[in-house]
């Protein structure tokens, strides 16, 4: 089987991609998707550690990560829908900042 550090490397790359998605997207749903990717990477690292030390506690931890991910997604999506009903957009910025960002984007890029 592969060394422990290789599976940690895969988990780290997944986590980096999730972090990048969370930081660059300007859409609350895609940001939540990035958080999911990060949680998944953490779960992968836990499973690999569980195999490395031959202990089942790591796998128990992954079960709790799954629970937290499901909870976080349901509450987060409900919040996004509530925000969408109120403002009609899924942009993370408040409307005033959004206008400023649009002006800066027109001027700068």
């Amino acid at each position: 089987m592969v060394p422990f550090s290789h599976s940690l490397l895969v988990a780290a790359l997944l986590f980096g991609m999730g972090l990048f998605c969370l930081l660059t997207r300007r859409n609350l749903i895609m940001m939540l998707l990035g958080i999911e990717v990060m949680l998944n990477a953490g779960a992968l690292a836990f499973v690999a550690a569980s195999l490395h030390w031959q202990q089942m506690d790591g796998q128990a931890m992954v079960l709790f990560i799954l629970t937290v991910a499901a909870t976080e997604v349901s509450v987060g999506l409900a919040l996004i829908v509530a925000l969408y009903r109120r403002t009609g957009s899924v942009d993370p910025d408040p409307p005033a900042d959004r206008q400023l960002a649009a002006q800066a984007g027109e001027g700068g890029v």
């Binding site: 089987m1 550090s5 490397l9 990048f20 997207r25 195999l51 031959q54 829908v81």
Partner: protein
């Protein structure tokens, strides 16, 4: 290289490629579908790393429930404009700096033993053994997790309730 190692590298390549496609798509439905593929790859990795129950749960909960919930919400919500889903390119450098710095730190930490380390021994936690372990040694955490799910259910019901006052305000 054993067949386990070969499978591991193939599956991690598939997972990483699917995730990379998912985080760069402009269309949200495409992103979610690529992410379903990524979660299937992760589930197979879990199976390979000796966690068959968690592999099944990953497919059922992540790929089955969470991603379908995302699809529902994406179909409910109409995103207004095509061009403001990414930040402008000039604002990307903090994101690149933070994620790149994080990755560089992790790689520096694991640089020495990336090649010479011996491989892990293959093992598997049978679902019944894992379940007994879970309910004997982690029963309090299981109860807390179920309470968390209940709280989330109540919270989502409260958040998604249409208030009577709003309805009266919107009516005229």
């Amino acid at each position: 290289m054993t067949v386990y190692s070969l499978l591991f590298y193939l599956l991690s390549l598939l997972t990483l490629a699917a995730t990379a496609m998912a985080v760069t798509r402009r269309h949200m439905v495409h992103a979610v579908l690529y992410l379903v593929l990524s979660f299937f790859g992760t589930a197979l990795l879990f199976y390979l790393l000796g966690a068959p129950l968690l592999a099944a749960l990953e497919v059922i909960i992540y790929a089955g429930a969470i991603m379908v919930l995302f699809l529902f919400i994406i179909m409910m919500i109409r995103v207004e404009k095509e061009d403001d889903r990414f930040f402008p390119f000039l604002q990307w450098w903090p994101a690149l700096l933070i994620s790149g710095g994080f990755l560089a730190g992790l790689l520096a930490l694991s640089r020495e033993d990336l090649v010479r380390q011996p491989g892990m021994t293959v093992a598997q936690a049978l679902p019944q053994v894992f379940g007994i372990h879970l309910f004997r040694d982690h029963w309090l955490a299981i109860e807390i997790a179920s309470l968390l799910l209940l709280i989330a259910l109540v919270g989502v019901l409260h958040l998604s309730r249409r208030r009577r006052a709003d309805a009266i305000e919107e009516a005229p």
